[in-house]
Symmetry: C2
Subunit: 467 residues, 2 copies
C-alpha cells in the first residue's frame, strides 16, 4: 500500500471534482424513471448519455444493450496484464419516480448542492454511485501511470432496477459469456454511517405471492348465513396466523432448508457495529422490536429469512359497518430469503402448505411472482480483503462488515456467473432513497471514487496467483 499512490489518487480526485460533479448533475437532470411509461425515452436518453461518458472515460468497448423493456449499458476495458482478474461492476441508471409536491425542498430533477450534499433523485440511488466509477478509473490510471486498469474491468448498468428488473435475468443469461468475471462489485448499496464505513457481504433474496381464498359465490348476509358457512376472511386470517410459531419461526415445512447460520466471526463483527436499539426503532418508526426468538435485531434483518404480510384485504372496508360474509379475501406475502435458500423451492413449499391448509368449502389460488435469490460472499474471499482494504484507505478507518436486508437483481449474477458478489457503496441511511429529498454526501461520494481507484490496484496485486 503506497502512500504515494494514495496521495496521487486523492489529488486527482480533488482536482477533477468540479468537472465530475458537473457531469453527474447533467445526468441527474434526465428523469430516467423506469416505472413511468411516459419517461421511457428519458431512460433511453440516460443510457446513451452514460455510454458516451464511459467512452470518454476511456472504455474501448461501450454498448447499449436493448432488452424487451428499457436498455442497459455495458462497457469493457481489458487490462494490459492478461493474467489480471476480471471485475464486473453492477449499477443502474434508472431512478424512482419523484415530484416536487411529494415533499421535495428542491426540484428532484434539478440537482442542487447545499451544505456539501447533492440533492436530486438518483443522487445516491444509483447514478452517483455508478458515476464515481468513472472518476475512480481515471484516478487509478493517473496515479499508477497505466494506460488501462490493473484489472479487466467490465460495467453493466441496467435501466429497470426501480421497476423490478423484469428483463435483467434474461439479459444476463443472453450475455453470460461477455459478462464472465471473477468477482462482481455492486455499487448500489450503502454503509452503516459516515463514521462507521462498512462493506456489505450479502443480500437477502425474495419470494412473493398473492393468496386468494374464495368462499361463497357472492357476499352473504351475516345474519341469514353467519355461523353456518366458511368465511374466507377468517380462513385467511388462520392461514396467516399459522405462518409463524410462538418463537417467531416460520412454520412452513422445509422453509429453513439451506439457511446458513452466522459464523462466530460474523457474530463478532456484527457485534462491533454501534447498533443502538432506541435509535434504530426511531428509524423503524416502531415501538418495539419483534421477530425470531433468540436472534439479535441485526441477525433478524440480515441473516434470517422472513414471512411478512405486505397487504391483506377482503369484504367491506368502507365507512361504518356492513354485515356480510365476504365472498373472498386475499393476502400478499413476501418472504425474504438468505443464503442458501432457493426461491423456487420456497414457491413449491408455500404453495403446498396453502393447499393443504385450505379448509373445506374454500377454494384457494396462490400466484407467485418471479423470485430473487439471496447472495452471500465467503468472508475469506480474497476480493473481500481487497475491498475492505480499499475502503479502509479511502476512509482512514477500520472497515466493519454488514449485510443488506433487502434484495436486488445483482444476486442473479452470483448464480449465473458462479462468482461472489461484493458491495462497494458509500450511501448512508439519511440519503432518503425512494423518498423526497434524496441526496448524496459529496465527501463520501468522492471517497467512493478513491476506494474504486485503490480497489483495482489491490485486487490485481492480491489476487491468488498474482506476482
Amino acid at each position: 500500500m503506497s502512500e504515494t499512490l494514495d496521495s496521487a489518487v486523492r489529488s486527482y480526485v480533488d482536482t477533477h471534482r468540479e468537472a465530475f460533479l458537473g457531469d453527474l448533475a447533467e445526468w441527474l437532470r434526465i428523469p430516467s424513471v423506469s416505472a413511468q411509461p411516459a419517461h421511457a425515452q428519458d431512460v433511453e436518453r440516460s443510457a446513451d448519455w452514460l455510454a458516451a461518458q464511459l467512452k470518454e472515460t476511456g472504455f474501448p468497448t461501450v454498448e447499449v444493450w436493448p432488452t424487451e423493456g428499457l436498455p442497459a449499458v455495458f462497457a469493457e476495458w481489458p487490462s494490459e496484464d492478461p493474467g489480471a482478474p476480471t471485475v464486473l461492476v453492477y449499477g443502474h441508471h434508472d431512478v424512482q419516480p419523484a415530484a416536487r409536491e411529494d415533499g421535495w425542498a428542491t426540484e428532484p430533477f434539478a440537482p442542487e448542492i447545499i451544505d456539501g450534499k447533492l440533492y436530486a433523485r438518483g443522487a445516491a440511488d444509483d447514478k452517483g454511485q455508478v458515476f464515481f466509477h468513472t472518476l475512480a478509473v481515471r484516478a487509478h490510471l493517473a496515479a499508477t501511470g497505466r494506460n488501462a486498469p490493473a484489472v479487466h474491468l467490465k460495467m453493466l448498468v441496467e435501466g429497470e432496477e426501480e421497476s423490478g428488473s423484469p428483463h435483467f435475468a434474461a439479459l444476463v443469461e443472453e450475455h453470460a459469456a461477455r459478462l464472465g468475471a471473477d468477482v462482481v462489485i455492486v455499487s448500489d448499496t450503502g454503509m452503516w454511517s459516515a463514521e462507521t464505513p462498512t462493506v456489505c457481504t450479502g443480500m437477502r433474496g425474495l419470494a412473493e405471492c398473492e393468496i386468494t381464498l374464495y368462499g361463497p359465490a357472492e357476499d352473504l348476509h351475516s345474519g341469514s348465513f353467519g355461523g353456518a358457512v366458511p368465511n374466507p376472511a377468517t380462513a385467511l386470517a388462520r392461514l396467516v396466523a399459522a405462518l409463524h410459531d410462538e418463537d417467531g419461526r416460520v412454520t412452513i415445512p422445509g422453509f429453513y432448508e439451506g439457511v446458513e447460520e452466522l459464523t462466530e466471526q460474523e457474530h463478532a463483527l456484527f457485534a462491533e457495529l454501534p447498533f443502538d436499539e432506541a435509535s434504530w426503532l426511531d428509524t423503524a418508526k416502531s415501538q418495539a422490536t419483534a421477530g425470531e426468538h433468540g436472534r439479535t435485531t441485526l441477525e433478524r434483518l440480515w441473516a434470517r429469512p422472513t414471512a411478512e404480510v405486505n397487504g391483506i384485504g377482503g369484504g367491506y372496508q368502507g365507512e361504518g359497518g356492513k354485515t356480510i360474509i365476504p365472498s373472498s379475501a386475499m393476502v400478499k406475502l413476501s418472504f425474504r430469503l438468505v443464503a442458501d435458500q432457493d426461491p423456487e423451492h420456497i414457491e413449491r413449499i408455500v404453495g403446498d402448505w396453502v393447499a393443504r391448509r385450505t379448509p373445506a368449502g374454500i377454494r384457494q389460488e396462490t400466484v407467485f411472482s418471479a423470485g430473487t435469490r439471496p447472495c452471500l460472499a465467503p468472508l475469506d474471499h480474497p476480493a473481500l480483503g481487497s475491498l475492505t482494504r480499499a475502503m479502509g484507505r479511502a476512509f482512514g478507518r477500520r472497515i466493519l462488515l454488514t449485510r443488506e436486508g433487502g434484495s436486488g437483481p445483482a444476486a442473479c449474477l452470483q448464480e449465473v456467473l458462479g462468482v461472489p458478489v461484493l458491495f462497494l457503496g458509500i450511501s448512508v441511511p439519511s440519503d432518503a432513497w425512494h423518498a423526497p429529498n434524496e441526496k448524496v454526501e459529496l465527501d463520501l461520494l468522492l471517497k467512493g471514487a478513491e476506494a474504486g481507484a485503490y480497489l483495482w490496484s489491490d485486487l490485481a496485486q492480491n489476487w491468488p496467483g498474482a506476482t
Copy 2:
C-alpha cells in the same frame, strides 16, 4: 274457532282485495329510501300517506312522530273491552335503495302484478306486510260485527329501519308509556316457504366493532425492516384466528354467558322443517357448511351466536406486489347474539380480549357501533298459541316454528316494554329483499291479512283471565 268467522273474514278479504292492492300500489310508488338523503321528503310523504290510510281504516288516534332523522307513524285503536290485552304491531315504511339498472325487470317504484306476484321495492319489506294489517283489522271488524278491535291495537311504523334505525331506541324510550303493550307483533319477517308456513319466535342480536392495529408510524420497506418489527397485519390475523377454537366455538371468555340452549321441544320442531342441505347450500352459494361442531345448520343459524369477519384490510392491495410492512390493519367484526346475551357485555369482553391480546409494539383501537339485543319468545306464551292458531286458520296447515338469524330493531321493544316479541310474517325466501325484483306473493299477502283478523279475536279469547 268459528267456521262462520273464518268464511266471513275470507269473504271480506276477497271482496276488498282490489281496493287494498290499489292502495298498496299507491304507497309503493313513493320511493321512501331512508338511506338516501335525496329521498328524505319521500320518506316524510310515505309517513303522511300511511297516517291518512290508518285514519281512514278507523284508528281514532294516528300521529306522525318526528325523530332526529325520519318520521315514524303511531296509531292506536282501543278495544271496547277495557280488560282486553294490548298488542303493538311493529313495521317500517322506509325501503332499501333500488334502481332499474341494478337488474330489475320492472321499474322498482312502479308496482306491477305478474303471475300473482306484486313486484316493487318494499312489496315484501315492509310496506306489503305493514299494509295487510289495515285489511286485517277491517276484516276482523266486519266479520265480528265489532266497532273496535277485540284487542287494544297499537301500531308503530318506523321510517329508518333500512338505514339501521339510528333513532328508534330513543323514540321508543321517549314514548314508552304510550307504547305499553302485553305483546309485540313484528310484521317484518317471513316464513319457511309457501308450503311450510311458520311462525318465528326470536331473532338474533348484533354487536359490531372495528378493530384497528397500528404498527410502524409509516409503511416500512420489508427488506430493510422485515423480520425485526411487529407487523400489524400479521398481529391482526392472529387476533382473528384466535376468535374461534378448533370446534368452531368463540374463545372470548364470557362470550357464551346467557346463551340459552334449545329445548327438546324446539329441537324437535326444527327437525320437522323440510331442511335440505344441498338446496340450502345453493341459496348460500357455498360449497360446504361450517361452524360450531355438534350443531345442526339451523341451530347454528338461529340459536347459536357467531363471530364473523365482515371486512379486513391493511397494506398494499393493488395490482402486483409492494414489499412493505403496513403501518396498520383493520378488521370489521360482527357478533350475532342469541337470547339472553347482552350486546353491552359483548362489547366489554371483546374490548378486553383485544386489549389483552395486542402484542408489544402494536397499538389497538376498538370501536363498537350501537348493538341490537336478541329476542326470544317463551314457547308456552299464550300469544304464541294465538299466533300459531291464527296462521293455521289462514293457511289451513300445521304451523311450525322457526327463528330468524338476522337482527332487527324491534328487539328493543322486548327490553323497553318488558314483553315478548312475536313475528307475523308471510314473506318467502324468493321475495328478494334488498335485491332487484323484490316481490310479494298476493295469495300469501292476503293470507297475512286473514291471519291478522283471526289473531285479534283469538288473543282476546285466550288471553289469561279472558272470559
